[in-house]
Amino acid sequence: MTATAPLFSESYRPAFAGFVANRREPDAIARLRREAFDRFQTLGWPTRQQEAWRLTDLSALQSITFQQPADALIDASALPTLEGPTHRLVFVNGRFAPGLSRLPKLPDGALITSLGQALTTHLERIEPYLDRLPGLERHSFAALNTAFWEDGAFVHLPRGTMVEEPIHLVFYAAGSDVTVHPRLLLALEGDAQATVVVEYRGQGRYLNAPLAELALGMGAVLHYHQIQEEAPQAFHLGAIRARQDRDSDMNLHLISVGGQLARADLAVLLDGEGASCAINGLTLARDQQYGDYHVRIEHARPHGTSEQRFKSVLDGKARSAFDGMIHVRPGAQKTDARQTSRNLLLSKQAQAHSNPRLEILADDVKCGHGSTTGFLDPDAEFYLRARGIPATQARALLVHAFANDNLNQIRLTPLRERLARLLAARLALDLAEGK
């Protein structure tokens, strides 16, 4: 497990050969890895000549030789917690940590476990989904993840199953110049319902390249939250692909505050009539941080709805990018798709890039997008100060108001409150003072 995998050298092939040689896995899985690795070899490393990677500067990664991580002992207090009963799986450096995990009783047939364990016990429930969902076919890191994932989370809820407690999936990375490829596979069969909180954290300088696959059957409801709070020196290159069947409802909340470079690529396929998807994204970045979302929503069937609300708050020399594509296929009539990207700049050096795109091949649809970027309103700041509120608190209040709108979309109260505290701390806002 300590074999080096020099990601940025020419020699991926020996690293991959060494990696698979140590694994005893079902043939089907080994084949997926080989195919994904071949795909990666064809795709190569993303370059800024590619439109999708034009703004993402990977040069800081390319000077580093990343290795497979060693096992790390983590103090449980370093891990985020959620108040109240949860199903909790913790992964340290991409490997399941049963001692830090806790799984209360589940409804009959429901499965929440590590993907590695499920390979031996429930392969038949994994195979229909793992690497079978469409989207991100040309994404190098998704291919790398399939080739190199060691472990991850597997949630499978049979038809009609409801898991009431939040499923808390914590991925912690630790080490210097290591790379981890955690995998998440969430499959909700018809009418199943779940609330999932995924948290990415760590310490040191590492590359985390997770891939989450979300499959929603007919009428399934998923509330999925992803909190990216990687270590300040870390790199996060994540991907999410989702397929939704008829009348399913997916709510994604994506919060990004950590890492020196963080990007997530999302591909959502609304593959059944009346499917709906809401994505609520908030990026907080400062200093030299870079935060990036690339989203593709594909409306394949009629009566689908999608709403994307992305916001970023940028201080220092931070930069953000948002690239959102709404694609409406011919025949996906009565689609209602909306997208907004709003960026608040707290410094003159901060930069936000927004690239909303629509491709509409049906003629009876409602689609809209909007993008705004600006500084704090000086009139609003003066108004608050003229009432006695000090300048720093006035600014914090205004930023909080801008960002809190997104946090308020989160219905999971303990998480929403924790994130509100995180936001307040980031803004050095003394809530107690104002309340």
Partner: protein
């Protein structure tokens, strides 16, 4: 309590105020009238400390302290209040939260502990009645989606809660129908007392029927052209500003 001496102010290198002298004592209500662009709002903004105005000469003292040295929040904490001509909408900040933050900022400045939640609630309710404000406005974002009248009422409500020692009302009457005007005037009159000073800036005499001033000043082209008692307002109503050889709109053009 407020002493303005020889105040000259420029906006983007254009002189808007050209030597204002004005002394307001505790308990007095002064009205400043003048045509559009005479510099009325410039005076209000300079007193409150808004950026973009350069004082080239003169001084403003508040209880003997140099007001121009203070940032806007310090002026507010010292007991100064500006009722805005155009109250700002602040989406996402609830009115009540904002008010409490303001009250506590002032208390902190004075070395007092944060306001007791129950006391604050009682005060807010009492003052809401003063300006006939609906309780639902407390939960709404500051001024967001408020009508013109609601915004002005909210200004007077804030003043009633913050209880400043000196308040500047910048065209608080503009855009109000007669009923709303009466509500606003009643709110102001209820706050008048021997310790509190007011500077009421208005374009129309009408407001002064309801907030009866002790002194009236006519501001024309950056200077106080005439001062007198409340009867001066009536005279202006009858004769207009034409007697004062105004150069209309000059300050407004510079500020735009």
């Amino acid at each position: 309590m407020l002493e303005i001496r020889n105040l000259h102010v420029t906006v983007e290198d254009r002189e808007i105020l050209k030597g204002i002298d004005l002394i307001i004592r505790p308990g007095e209500t002064h009205a400043i009238m003048g045509p559009n662009g005479s510099g009325k709002s410039t005076l209000a903004n300079v007193i409150a400390g808004r950026e973009g105005y350069t004082v080239t000469e003169g001084e403003i003292r508040f209880d003997g302290k140099n007001l121009l040295d203070m940032d806007p929040e310090t002026r507010a904490c010292e007991g100064l209040f500006l009722a805005f001509q155009y109250p700002v909408e602040i989406p996402g900040v609830a009115n009540l939260y904002f008010l409490k933050a303001a009250v506590n900022a002032v208390r902190k400045y004075r070395g007092e502990p944060p306001v007791d939640a129950m006391d604050f609630w009682d005060l807010v309710h009492e003052r809401m009645e003063l300006v006939k404000m609906d309780e639902s406005m407390l939960k709404r974002s500051v001024n967001e989606g408020f009508s013109g009248g609601e915004k002005k009422r909210n200004e007077v409500f804030q003043m009633a809660v913050l209880q400043p020692r000196f308040a500047v009302l910048d065209e608080t009457d503009s855009g109000l129908d007669i009923d709303a005007l009466k509500v606003v005037a009643d709110g102001v009159n209820a706050l008048r007392n021997p310790e509190r000073g007011f500077l009421v800036i208005t374009h129309y005499q009408r407001l002064l029927d309801y907030i009866v001033p002790d002194h009236v000043h006519v501001l024309v082209n950056g200077k106080i052209a005439r001062s007198g008692g409340k009867e001066l307002a009536l005279e202006l109503e009858a004769q207009g500003y034409a007697l004062y050889n105004e150069e209309p709109g000059r300050a407004r053009r510079a500020a735009a």
